[in-house]
């Protein structure tokens, strides 16, 4: 009865907001909660890789598999915490940090030649040969003053991507 649009209490919402550094408004969090429940078909309280892949638009993404390693089995709080990089309220620095994390899957704070190569492989598939990929990567790395043996750190990423205008924004639909 009445308006039961959300099962989240004000307290829950504020807690989640805290958790994602206020990257989303309260309304957006309510929307994200509905979306979370929709994706969590089994009603288990977390979203499995399989449930993420049931969204075709996500499943066809070349980086889907890589992202799933970060996404698999997230509960609502973690789900929201994954998304701030795509909020308009988040600084460029945090966005770059997120990109760095996508490259640095083993979380050792370093992105090696192979890490970049792996992402490039996901993005180009069978349309570039392994040799071509290595050549391209070696070339651009050397041009930027790195060697294939050196690994990139977060400050390196900041320097490289810091002055480009990243367009990484996703609008949370509020209805």
């Amino acid at each position: 009865m009445g308006n039961t649009s959300s099962m989240l209490t004000q307290y829950d919402i504020e807690e989640v907001q805290e958790h994602c550094n206020h990257a989303f408004s309260q309304q957006e969090i309510v929307s994200l909660y509905h979306r979370f429940c929709q994706l969590d078909r089994s009603g288990s309280g977390f979203i499995s890789a399989d449930e993420f892949l049931s969204v075709p638009e996500f499943a066809v993404n070349p980086l889907a598999e890589r992202l799933l390693r970060m996404l698999d089995g997230l509960n609502f709080k973690e789900f929201v915490a994954f998304l701030p990089a795509f909020s308009s309220r988040t600084s460029l620095q945090q966005k770059i940090e997120f990109i760095f994390k996508v490259y640095d899957l083993d979380c050792n704070g370093k992105v090696t030649f192979d890490d970049v190569l792996n992402v490039l492989r996901d993005l180009t598939g069978s349309f570039m040969s392994e040799q071509q990929r290595q050549e391209v990567l070696t070339r651009v790395l050397e041009e930027a003053g790195y060697t294939p043996d050196s690994s990139l750190t977060l400050p390196d990423f900041m320097k490289i991507l810091g002055n480009s205008d990243l367009k990484m924004e996703v609008e949370v639909p509020i209805d």
């Binding site: 009865m1 009445g2 994200l32 979306r35 929709q38 993420f52 892949l53 969204v55 075709p56 638009e57 996500f58 499943a59 066809v60 993404n61 070349p62 980086l63 889907a64 992202l67 996404l71 998304l83 990089a85 795509f86 966005k95 997120f98 990109i99 996508v102 490259y103 970049v116 992402v119 490039l120 993005l123 180009t124 598939g125 069978s126 349309f127 570039m128 071509q132 391209v136 990567l137 070339r139 651009v140 790395l141 041009e143 930027a144 790195y146 990423f157 490289i160 991507l161 480009s164 205008d165 990243l166 367009k167 990484m168 924004e169 996703v170 609008e171 949370v172 639909p173 509020i174 209805d175």
Partner: protein, 372 residues
């Protein structure tokens, strides 16, 4: 809901990746630009796309049922609403069940004699069976007080034509069938629906298949062609979406109906959600429960438009033809088009889509490399 529809207008293009999405914008403006490390490391467009799909996607929206809007929110309306519940469940529902039961009894007591005794008179038998099926569908429509407005000329029975309609629920078929005895192509169902499919609807020339059996498709294709050629057959009705959509969107049309080389007559069906949402979410609800939901509502209100027959234009592929007809139906019924195959509800998308995105990205890198 209006805002929800508006906000998703950009989503329709998601399936078609364009170059701009993958290249930083400045590189498109001054094109003979070298490839830099920054361009390789910047995976933000692909990430944004992925996050966008996680937050909201057009495919899931197609199959989202909308919960009824409660209107019992104040002290005056609440007793009224309660009274409504009592009337709907206590009076209307039993009455409707009775109507349906009487309808079935009359139907069966007429159908089986006709079916078995008139074997020697196929013309008579066919005609009577056709009438009986139409009658039974009218009983069904009456059992949820269907308020159906039909627009445009009634379908005629003649060879070389096929009717295509958008699909929201199995009741689409019932609503159309009560006017004209169509032969329909349908998914095989289990339970009592399956029984009716096998015994009764077979007699109006319906064709059944199983979505998951790939060899069924070939058989259906052949039967389709044979059926369309027959002079005396009931007009053929196909739901080319292949699955129920929530009547806000249309998903891709299967091309089968559009390569038969005959006239395609589009039918647009739009349900008014004022009393009940007619969308059958077959994954969540059995057809019986779906009918109960309809029978406990005040009424099912819908509009049906019979649109002008369309023919394959010279130089047009069946897929383009299908898209053109989908445009017509979507425009008439006020539905939004999405580029997804409805079968994705049951299967994963083919790697083809991913490969296309990879190809575009790879080509852009290689092209920029050559310029050096």
């Amino acid at each position: 809901m209006a805002e929800a529809l508006g906000s998703s207008s950009a989503e329709m293009d998601l399936d078609r990746p364009n170059l701009e999405e993958y290249l930083p914008t400045d590189s498109i403006q001054d094109s003979p630009k070298n490839l830099h490390l920054r361009d390789l490391l910047d995976i933000s467009p692909t990430l944004t796309e992925a996050a966008g799909a996680i937050v909201d996607d057009s495919f899931t929206r197609c199959f989202k049922s909308n919960p009824p809007e409660p209107w019992n929110w104040n002290i005056y309306l609440f007793p009224l609403w309660c009274l409504g519940v009592v009337v709907r469940y206590g009076i209307l529902f039993p009455l409707r069940v009775a109507v349906l039961a009487i309808g079935w009894i009359v139907f069966f007591s007429a159908f089986f004699p006709v079916h078995f005794l008139l074997k020697g008179y196929p013309k008579w038998r066919r005609k009577l069976e056709r009438k009986l099926v139409e009658m039974m569908c009218s009983v069904f429509v009456a059992s949820w007080t269907g308020v159906v407005k039909y627009h445009g000329p009634r379908p005629s029975t003649r060879p070389h034509q096929v009717f295509v309609a958008n699909h929201t629920s199995m009741i689409d078929f019932i609503i159309l069938e009560q006017m004209t005895a169509f032969a329909v192509i349908m998914q095989k169902h289990p339970g009592w629906v399956g029984f009716i499919q096998k015994t009764i609807l077979e007699s109006v020339g319906c064709i059944w298949f199983n979505r998951t059996e790939s060899k069924d498709r070939g058989v259906v294709g052949r039967k389709l062609r044979e059926h369309v050629q027959g002079v005396d057959n009931n007009p053929l009705l196909i739901f080319p979406e292949g699955t129920c959509v929530n009547n806000h969107y249309t998903v891709m049309f299967k091309k089968g109906a559009f390569e038969l080389g005959c006239a395609v007559c589009p039918i647009a069906i739009k349900y008014n959600k004022i009393f009940v949402d007619a969308f059958w979410n077959s994954k969540k609800q059995s057809f019986t429960m779906h009918l109960v939901r309809l029978m406990t509502s005040w009424a099912v209100v819908c509009d049906v438009w019979y649109l002008e027959p369309q023919y394959l234009r010279p130089g047009e592929t069946p897929i383009e033809f299908a898209e053109r007809v989908r445009d017509m139906i979507s425009a008439r019924a006020g539905l939004k088009k999405v580029p997804w195959d409805g079968y994705l509800k049951y299967f994963r998308p083919s790697p083809k889509h991913t490969e296309r995105k990879q190809q575009i990205f790879a080509e852009s890198i290689l092209r920029r490399l050559e310029r050096k």
